[in-house]
């Protein structure tokens, strides 16, 4: 019902390194903090001190235990809008409130025309939309559109709040439409992947997979020290009995 641009000049998005994310939630709260006073203001919190605290968040982190051929362990998985090229949340929107920007590919919701019908949250396969009950409108990751072009910010801070905050450096922001960008390079080098690629929504955000721990093990198969006779302690003292200067 709402059309997508045929192409976008840029494909701005995030690259999230699952090998490094420790699940600290810095991206989660910095996102909340920025956006509750920014473009999406406010991100309402219901029952904030009660039995069922429930607010609107544009980014969440989930933790899973995984065991498969490639990886066994715990993965911290940050989840926010992936700014899909074929964004079902946009095409399903009856009012045009959900739209994908032609210049940079960011998917936004216009709160003035959103009627809160929630069709987009049903359509989104990633569960990345958040309904603000109080405001009656849908909210979502804006890639901090009010930061990344913000001329009142120093150049180096024109990046999404989650990337600015991330302590481990697990998050990067850039143009994934430009094969030479740092983010595209890291996707190339590390086998970055689309979340649920088989669904065909062509998410712009990419995830870098956790590396196998065995990849990091030093090779230790060096020749053993020449064998000497005696007990381990005799061998040790024989070896240590050389000229050592203080």
């Amino acid at each position: 019902m709402t059309t997508l641009p045929t192409r976008t000049d840029k494909k701005l998005g995030l690259v999230i390194d699952l090998d490094i994310c420790v699940g600290c939630h810095a991206c989660v709260t910095s996102c909340k903090e920025w956006n509750t006073g920014g473009y999406s203001a406010p991100l309402t919190d219901y029952d904030p001190y009660g039995a069922d605290p429930d607010g609107a968040w544009l980014n969440r982190v989930h933790t899973y235990e995984i065991a498969n051929d490639h990886f066994t362990g715990t993965v911290h998985f940050p989840r926010s809008c992936l700014h899909c090229e074929d964004a079902a949340c946009v095409t399903v929107c009856p009012t045009g409130a959900s739209y994908k920007r032609a210049e940079d590919g960011i998917v936004l919701v216009n709160p003035d025309t959103c009627i809160g019908c929630k069709l987009c949250s049903w359509a989104c396969p990633y569960g990345a939309r958040e309904y603000d009950h109080d405001q009656g409108v849908m909210k979502k990751c804006t890639l901090c559109v009010d930061r990344i072009y913000n001329e009142t910010l120093p150049e180096e801070d024109r990046t999404p709040a989650c990337v600015r905050a991330c302590p481990t450096g697990a998050r990067a922001f850039g143009d994934l439409g430009d094969p030479d960008s740092t983010v595209s390079q890291s996707v190339n080098d590390r086998g970055g992947f689309d979340l649920m690629a088989e669904m065909g929504y062509k998410p712009v955000n990419k995830y870098l997979p956790p590396r196998k721990g065995t990849d990091r093990a030093p090779v230790t198969n060096v020749a053993p020290a020449p064998e000497q006779t005696g007990s381990p302690i005799e061998k040790l003292f024989a070896w240590a009995d050389r000229a050592l200067s203080r």
């Binding site: 810095a26 006073g37 473009y39 093990a217 040790l236 240590a240 200067s245």
Partner: protein, 953 residues
């Protein structure tokens, strides 16, 4: 297609930015606080982000720091000073003025000081102003002062300082830029925050290997390349096996040992003699070595000798002595520490231990780093390069919170030293003012003769005893301190034993007190062992109906579980409203390459009648006429309050709380006259000061002539002598000799065997005490805080509690299967002290013999501004109810504290439990709700930021 809506892309973040220091945990990151006027025209906090220039966090900010807004505007904040008007625990208070509050406090404290100052016990929690609070307590004259270190990480501090003059946590860091192999021992999610996250990110990007040794695979341990899911309390066996392998395969940095350690020093072998096990010393008191160059005895402190590392040598007096290295080799090559011997107890396969030892040695010796950086060693010899062994380690609570933590921590340092990886490129690096001497030349004060009416104590409370002569006990051995610190129960308790204060006071053991004065420690809930017993102690009455602890003064910013149990409440500010001083005299924020300190300053003004605790303490000091807080004429010495103190207090001539911009012209660093404009300079510089080290001073600082001389000049080091690593710790042997009957200071008979066994001068492993004393509790139980919360503070934060509002008991899938429980089923968890009912969650990434949970999520109804039916109250639970502050009776019937026998460190993680399926739900124990009539109701809805919404175009 209609055109896209026009949106405002360049709205300024706020009206102003102020830079200060975070306090959402203990990391002390630099923050930029963006302020924007609210509808009332008053500035409100719009956004908090990391200060890019700051040495601690370099611009990033964690999940807690980024939720600071909700901490600042928490409905749990206290509003005004209060005095209790109902019984303790009722929460019935009356708001009073600050003048009345301080008059009451003065009225309680002044008479004690005139008669018996030790009847005040002053203990602070997670505060970062211990140089001020300790100084205040010294001037008051009570020996009963400490902060929370005794129940946090004193084993790490003491283990490191007695061994190599530094320590894990904030006294040093892995060399994140050069390390190739990083081992993380027992590091919970909350220790530390941004620095370790930045570091791990660097290592992972560079392809360094990260090995985690932890019963639980979450957080940092989840991203490790290799997870060693060890059984709690057995790390000493694991490390011992690694050391065994290094000795067996002869992969040890002998040159490093000879240069920097006491490995060649000769130990007297004369069983039964008063100096058995002490170092053989020459006439000048120097430790002796056998010098192969001259075939004669030499001084272990001399340069250019060729000391022998093995062999029995006959001393001039005819007795024999052997080098430390030989004693160490015998211990660790012995049968107790083979990988096979320890694999069952640790749960770590022998093969894995051998592989890790081989990898450590490989990286240390075959991937060494050579920096072309000239430096001069302690003896004046010039070197063209710095050789690095790029193996580094970090360890925290999982090591320290056991009754074998001190010796285990020492063993980890031994491992580092054998690999030659302390303060070398790629290794573990000191942060100035470390290294100190081993142990530091700082002795505890508060012996009976030092406690006099109306007299200061004569020195700082906390220090590092070198032997029994430094214990704080009277002629009968009775402890001088209420917490029994520096007594035979805990001889080297360098941070005190805050976890024993309340219960000892109620039992009048060793004596009763009149006033308990606490700051920022949730001792009536998650910071105490045995919560029920602690609450009984806080409310116990004598025959006349009077409270056994007669007066309790408490300062906190929030309505915690502890507030209702105090008689007088001094409400603190939030971290955004206060002055603070993060001082080199206390817990500095230095980086390995930089001496640094910092301040907090008010970036917003309080909207209520609260005052920063330090401000109040200084005024109280003046009202009590404490020396150091008044002028000769009796007028207050710091009429300008805390900023006045920070600027003008001098601990020694030229040395004050802050190191930056000292001197008349603000051009002196570290040492210089007070500068009235100092705080303005800090504020201009982003609330911190940093002095970069000369690159030639970057490594080997324990023996780097340039650094040692520079550090003395800067007032951060006392001795020009190098710091010599104490593989073999002679102070331990002195305590052991006393236990064997030598010397005039003798332990009570009940303590002899305990002292003799545990004060081993060479690190060794022994089973944690609780499991030695109880049966029928097959599982270990431990806790950690999630990364997004810090101690008790998180649950009042509307954003953070949406991430975690209830805790579960995490159990291994196989344990759950055997028990027949699934996620969220209710179980009883029991210990020798009691039981709690809680819900389980099954997971694979936990040691099979271990259960764990998030600490301090469980809250008591009525506290923290939470509704009664909040999940924190109805599902949340604490393991504290299962942990006894006293050990079960051992032989002889005396009940020692549940602590490390050397340092008194609280042994939280020694807990043993059993688990049974519960028939019905509901968390237990469920304490009666605390009264909270003095607090405003919490809002049903938050729409923070709505006031700044751009109007629609």
């Amino acid at each position: 297609m209609p055109p896209d809506p026009q949106i405002a892309l360049s709205t300024p973040v706020g009206d102003s930015v102020k830079q200060t220091t975070c306090y959402m945990c203990a990391c002390r990151c630099g923050i930029d606080v963006h302020l924007k006027d609210g509808p009332d025209g008053k500035p409100r906090v719009r956004y908090i982000e990391g200060n890019r220039a700051h040495p601690v966090n370099k611009g990033v900010l964690c999940g807690k720091g980024s939720a600071g807004i909700m901490q600042h505007y928490s409905p749990a904040r206290l509003r005004a000073p209060m005095k209790r008007v109902g019984p303790r625990g009722s929460g019935q208070f009356e708001e009073i003025s600050w003048d009345e509050a301080l008059e009451i406090a003065t009225g309680w404290l002044a008479p004690i000081r005139k008669t018996d100052p030790k009847r005040l016990a002053f203990f602070t929690g997670r505060d970062q102003s211990q140089s001020l609070t300790g100084f205040w307590a010294m001037q008051y004259g009570t020996p009963n002062f400490a902060a929370h270190g005794g129940f946090c990480s004193v084993n790490m501090a003491a283990g490191g300082l007695y061994t190599f003059g530094g320590a894990f946590w904030e006294f040093g860091d892995p060399d994140w830029d050069y390390t190739k192999y990083f081992m993380l021992f027992g590091v919970a999610e909350d220790h530390a925050s941004n620095p370790i996250k930045i570091g791990i990110g660097k290592l992972k990007k560079r392809g360094a290997k990260v090995v985690s040794i932890n019963p639980v695979r979450t957080g940092y341990n989840a991203v490790a390349d290799e997870w060693v899911g060890i059984r709690p309390g057995t790390d000493g066996l694991f490390v011992g096996a690694l050391i065994h392998e290094l000795f067996r395969t002869r992969q040890i940095d002998l040159d490093y040992l000879v240069r920097y350690t006491n490995a060649p020093w000769l130990v007297i072998e004369a069983p039964g003699a008063a100096d058995d096990g002490l170092f053989a010393r020459d006439a000048d008191g120097n430790p002796m070595v056998w010098d192969k160059a001259t075939d004669a005895f030499g001084s272990g402190k001399a340069a250019d000798i060729q000391p022998s590392l093995s062999g029995t040598h006959t001393l001039p007096d005819g007795r024999s002595a052997r080098p430390v290295f030989e004693l160490m080799a015998e211990r660790y090559l012995g049968a107790d520490y083979t990988p096979e011997a320890v694999e069952e107890r640790t749960g770590v396969p022998a093969e894995q231990m051998r592989k890790i030892a081989a990898e450590l040695a490989h990286v240390a010796f075959r991937e060494e780093i050579v920096l072309d950086r000239p430096w001069t060693d302690w003896a004046g010899r010039k070197h063209d390069t710095m050789i690095g062994r790029p193996v580094s380690m970090h360890a925290m609570r999982g090591i320290s919170a056991h009754s074998n933590g001190f010796q285990t921590c020492r063993m980890i340092h031994i491992l580092q030293i054998l690999l030659g990886s302390i303060d070398c490129p790629g290794g573990f690096r000191y942060k100035p003012p470390y290294p100190k001497q081993t142990p530091p030349n700082l002795l505890p004060h508060g012996a009976p003769g030092q406690i006099q009416p109306e007299m200061p104590l004569g020195g700082p409370h906390l220090g590092f005893p070198h032997g029994p002569e430094h214990l704080l006990i009277d002629a009968d051995g009775t402890p001088s301190r209420l917490d029994k610190g520096f007594s035979w129960d805990a001889p080297i308790s360098a941070h005190g034993l805050m976890h024993m204060v309340i219960n000892n006071a109620a039992k009048k053991d060793p004596y009763s007190i009149d006033v308990l004065f606490m700051y920022m420690a949730n001792m009536a809930w998650n910071s105490s062992m045995n919560v029920g017993g602690t609450l009984e102690a806080l409310t116990a009455t004598d025959d006349t109906g009077a409270y056994v602890i007669p007066k309790i003064i408490y300062s906190d910013a929030y309505y915690s579980e502890t507030v209702p149990f105090a008689d007088l409440i001094l409400p603190d500010t939030t971290y955004l409203e206060r002055w603070d001083c993060i001082s080199l005299l206390d817990r500095p924020i230095s980086e390995p390459d930089m001496v640094a300190d910092a301040i907090r300053h008010p970036v917003v003004q309080p909207d209520r009648d609260v005052r920063g605790f330090q401000e109040v303490l200084i005024e109280l000091g003046a009202r009590l006429h404490l020396p150091g807080f008044i002028n000769a004429d009796g007028t207050p010495k710091f009429p300008g309050g805390y900023p006045d103190y920070i600027t003008n207090h001098q601990r020694k001539p030229g040395i004050g709380p802050l190191a930056g911009w000292r001197g008349e012209n603000a051009d002196k660093a570290c040492v210089g006259d007070p500068n009235p404009d100092q705080l303005d300079r800090y504020i201009e510089n982003g609330a911190y000061f940093g002095l970069k080290l000369d690159p030639g001073h970057a490594y080997f600082r324990h023996a780097n002539r340039g650094y040692l001389d520079w550090a003395i000049e800067k007032g951060i080091r006392l001795s020009p002598e190098p710091t010599i690593f104490q593989l073999y710790s002679e102070p331990m042997q002195k305590f052991r000799l006393a236990a064997q009957g030598h010397g005039d200071r003798q332990p009570p008979d009940r303590a002899r065997a305990r002292i003799e066994a545990h004060f081993d001068p060479l690190p060794f492993w022994y089973p944690p005490f609780e499991e030695q004393l109880v049966e029928g509790f097959p599982l270990h139980a431990i806790t950690q805080r999630p990364m997004h919360m810090y101690h008790s503070w998180g649950s009042q934060n509307a954003w953070l509690r949406q991430i975690t509002a209830a805790n579960r008991l995490y159990v291994h899938t196989s344990v759950g299967r055997d028990l027949g429980v699934q996620d969220d089923d209710w179980v009883w968890l029991s210990s020798h002290l009691g039981r709690v009912k809680c819900q389980v969650r099954l997971m694979e990434g936990v040691n099979r013999h271990t259960v764990w949970t998030w600490n301090a999520i469980g809250k008591r109804r009525g506290a923290w501004g939470l509704d009664g039916d909040a999940p924190e109250n109805t599902e949340g639970f604490l393991l504290n109810h299962l942990i006894s502050e006293l050990l079960p009776k051992g032989g002889g019937g005396y009940r020692y504290s549940n602590s490390d026998p050397l340092t008194g460190q609280a042994a939280w993680f020694d807990l043993r439990v059993k688990i049974e399926k519960a028939e019905s739900g509901g968390t237990e124990p469920l304490f009666e709700p605390l009264g909270h009539a003095s607090q405003p109701p919490s809002p049903d809805k938050l729409a923070y930021g709505a006031e700044w919404k751009e109007p629609a175009e």
